[in-house]
C-alpha cells in the first residue's frame, strides 16, 4: 500500500489524473450532476480541441527546449485564408481547405524553424516577431470582412459532425506512437535532454529542430481550419492570446519548459484539466466576473501542488536510500 502511494505521488501523470477525477466529481456535484453527461464531455473536448491539438506540437517544441508563441497567429492566418477562399467561392471542398490550412501552417512553421535552427535566434524572440507577422498577415487577408455563417457553410457543417473528434483522436494516437516508438520521437527527447550529446551522437539537431517547428505549424494550421469549422466564423483576431493556454496545458501536464521531459499522455491530461476548468467555471454558479481570477488561481495551484508532490516523492526516495 505504501509502495503504491509512493508510486502515485512520484508519477506525474497519475497524480494529475487523480486531481482531475477529484475536480470532475466536485464540479459534477456543484453543478447539480449535470457535468458527467456524455454530451457535456463531448462539448469539453470539442470546444478545447484547438488547445488540445496545438498542445501536441507545443509538447515537441518544449521538449527540444524551445517555445512557440506564434501559433495563434498561424491559426488566424490559416483560418482566415480558408475562410476567405470559401467566401469568394474559390474552393469549397472541405478536405482540400484543411490541406491548404495545413500547408500554410507548415510554411509558417518552416520559417520559424529555419530562423531558430540555422539562424540561432532564441525561439521566444523568433516566434514573438513571427506572432506579429502572422497576425498581421491574417489582418491583410481579412481586408475588412469576416467569413462566417453561410459563407463557410461547408466547414461549419463539418464542425457539427464527428469529424473534429476523429481528428483530435487521430492526432493524439499518431503523436503517442511517434513520440514513444519512432527514432524521431527519441531524437526529440535526446535533443532536449542534452543538445551537445545529441549532436555528438550523430543526430542532425538542426533538421530535427526545424521539423519540430514545421509540425507545430502543421497543427496550428489544422487548428485554424478546425476553428472555422467549430465556430462557423473566421476573424483575424481569433484565439488571440490563447498560445499561453496551450503552453499552460503542457506545463500542467508535466512538460518541462527547459526541455527533455514530458509525455503525450501528460499533455492530454493537462489539456483536459484546462478544458474542464474552462467548462466548469461558468457552470458552478460562479459569477462570470470571478472566472478569470479563479482560473489563474487554479493554474498556479496546480503547478505548485505538482512541485510539492515531486519534492515529497524525492524526499521519500532519499529516505529509502538511507535505509
Amino acid at each position: 500500500m505504501k509502495a503504491f502511494l509512493r508510486k502515485l505521488s512520484g508519477n506525474h501523470e497519475i497524480s494529475l489524473a487523480i486531481i482531475l477525477v477529484v475536480l470532475f466529481i466536485v464540479v459534477d456535484i456543484l453543478s447539480g450532476f449535470t457535468f458527467h453527461g456524455i454530451g457535456n464531455i463531448g462539448e469539453i473536448f470539442k470546444n478545447n480541441s484547438l488547445t488540445l491539438i496545438m498542445s501536441l506540437g507545443m509538447l515537441c517544441v518544449l521538449l527540444t527546449g524551445g517555445i512557440d508563441i506564434s501559433i495563434t497567429g498561424v491559426l488566424a492566418f490559416a483560418g482566415m485564408t480558408v475562410g476567405m477562399l470559401q467566401k469568394y467561392n474559390v474552393i469549397k471542398n472541405v478536405p482540400l481547405l484543411f490541406l491548404i490550412a495545413i500547408a500554410i501552417g507548415a510554411l509558417c512553421g518552416l520559417l520559424n524553424g529555419v530562423v531558430i535552427a540555422k539562424g540561432k535566434v532564441s525561439p521566444i524572440i523568433c516566434t514573438l516577431g513571427a506572432m506579429y507577422i502572422w497576425r498581421g498577415l491574417a489582418t491583410v487577408v481579412y481586408n475588412g470582412e469576416w467569413a462566417s455563417g453561410e459563407n463557410v457553410a461547408g466547414m461549419s457543417a463539418f464542425g457539427n459532425t464527428a469529424g473534429p473528434y476523429i481528428i483530435l483522436a487521430a492526432a493524439f494516437v499518431v503523436y503517442f506512437v511517434v513520440m514513444k516508438w519512432t527514432p524521431f520521437g527519441r531524437k526529440v527527447y535526446a535533443i532536449g535532454s542534452n543538445r551537445e550529446a545529441a549532436q555528438i551522437s550523430g543526430i542532425n539537431v538542426d533538421r530535427v529542430e526545424i521539423l519540430v517547428y514545421v509540425l507545430m505549424g502543421v497543427l496550428a494550421g489544422l487548428a485554424g481550419a478546425l476553428s472555422v469549422s467549430l465556430y462557423g466564423s473566421a476573424q483575424p483576431t481569433m484565439q488571440d492570446g490563447k498560445e499561453m493556454d496551450v503552453i499552460a496545458a503542457c506545463v500542467i501536464g508535466g512538460v518541462s519548459m527547459s526541455g527533455g521531459r514530458g509525455t503525450v499522455v501528460g499533455t492530454l491530461l493537462g489539456g483536459i484539466f484546462y478544458a474542464v476548468v474552462y467548462k466548469a467555471l461558468p457552470l458552478v454558479g460562479l459569477e462570470s466576473i470571478w472566472q478569470n481570477l479563479i482560473k489563474g488561481v487554479i493554474i498556479l495551484a496546480v503547478v505548485v501542488i505538482n512541485v510539492v508532490s515531486q519534492r515529497i516523492s524525492r524526499r521519500q526516495t532519499l529516505a529509502r536510500r538511507e535505509i
Binding site: 539562424g119 535566434v121 503552453i247 489563474g296 493554474i299 505548485v304
Partner: protein, 341 residues
Amino acid sequence: MAGKSGRTISAVPVRSWKKLILSWEGALVVIFIAVLIAGRIMSPSFNLNSVMFMMPQYLSQLFIVFPMAFVLIMGEIDISVGSIACLSATTACLAANAGLPLPLMILVCLGTGLACGALNGFVLTVWPELPPMIVTLGTQIIFRGISEVVIGAGSSLKYDSDNLSPFAATAGPVPVVFFAVVVVAVLFMILLSKTTFGRRLYAIGSNRTAAKYAGIGVNRVRFIVYALAGLMAALCALFLLTQIPAVKSDEFGKGFEMNVIAMCVFGGIATTGGKGNLFGAFIAGMTIVCMRIALGLINVNDNVITIVIGVLLIVSVLISGISRFKGKGKAKKKPKSVTAD
C-alpha cells in the same frame, strides 16, 4: 569580442571607437538616427514637438524595460508586468477617488506593484524549480482577475482627480516622463554595471549552479528582481494614468510584457541569460517608439506597423546572432581577446 556586447564578469571589453560603432549598441544608435532621418523625410509633421507630444504614451512602457532586462539577464522571464500595471492603476484610482492625498495615492499604487512583484518572487523562490513563465502566467491572470472583480461589471474605473498633472507636465516640449525614464535608466545602469548586485545577475544568468556555489544568494537576488519589476510596472501605471485616466481591467497594460521583451531583445539582451546591457535596451526602446511614431504620422495601417516591427525584430536578432556566432569562434581561438578586429 563580439558584435553583441557580451559583458561578462571575466571579460569586460576595452572600448575603442571602432569597437563602439561595431558593437550592437553602436549599430542601434546608427539605426536610431536612420529612423529619425527617414521619419523627417517622410513626414513634415515628424519634428521635435510632435515626437515629444506623442512620446509619453509609449514612453511609460520603458520603465518596465529595465527590470525586465534584469529578469532576462538572469535567464528568466516575467509576463505578469502588464497585469501588475493594471492592478496598480486600479488601486491608484480607488485611492484617489477615496480622496487620499497625492503622496499617499502614489504610495498605494507603488505598494500594490511591489506587493505583486514580491508575490511572484515569493512563489518563485519558495519553489525555485517552478518555471517563471508559467508562474507569471498564473499571476498575470490573477492580477487582472482581481482588477476585474474590484472594478466590477459596468463602465471603466475613472480616475476622478486632477492631481496627476505634475506627472503630465512638460519642460518646453519635453515631457516629465522623459526625464523620469532617463533617471530610472541611469539608476538601473549603475545598479547593473557598478554594483555587486549587477554582477550577481550576470553570474546567475551565465551559470546558476556556479553562482550558488560561489556563495551568491540566488533566491534573494531573484526575489529582489521580481519585486523591482512589480515596482516599475506600478510606476509605468502611474504615468500611464495621466494618458489614460480610467482603468478597464481587460485592457490596461495588456500586451506590455511582450512589447517590453521585444525592446530588450532588440537591444541585444539574450533571453538565455548572462548577456546584454541596459544602454542597448534603452536605445532599442527609443528606436521602436520613434519608429511607431513615424509610421503613425504617415498613416500607415496599424497592422502593417506590427508586421514591420515583427520583421525588424527577427532580422535584427538574426543578423546580430550570426555575428555573435562568428565572434564566439574567434573568442575560442583567442580567449580574453581584446584586440581590434
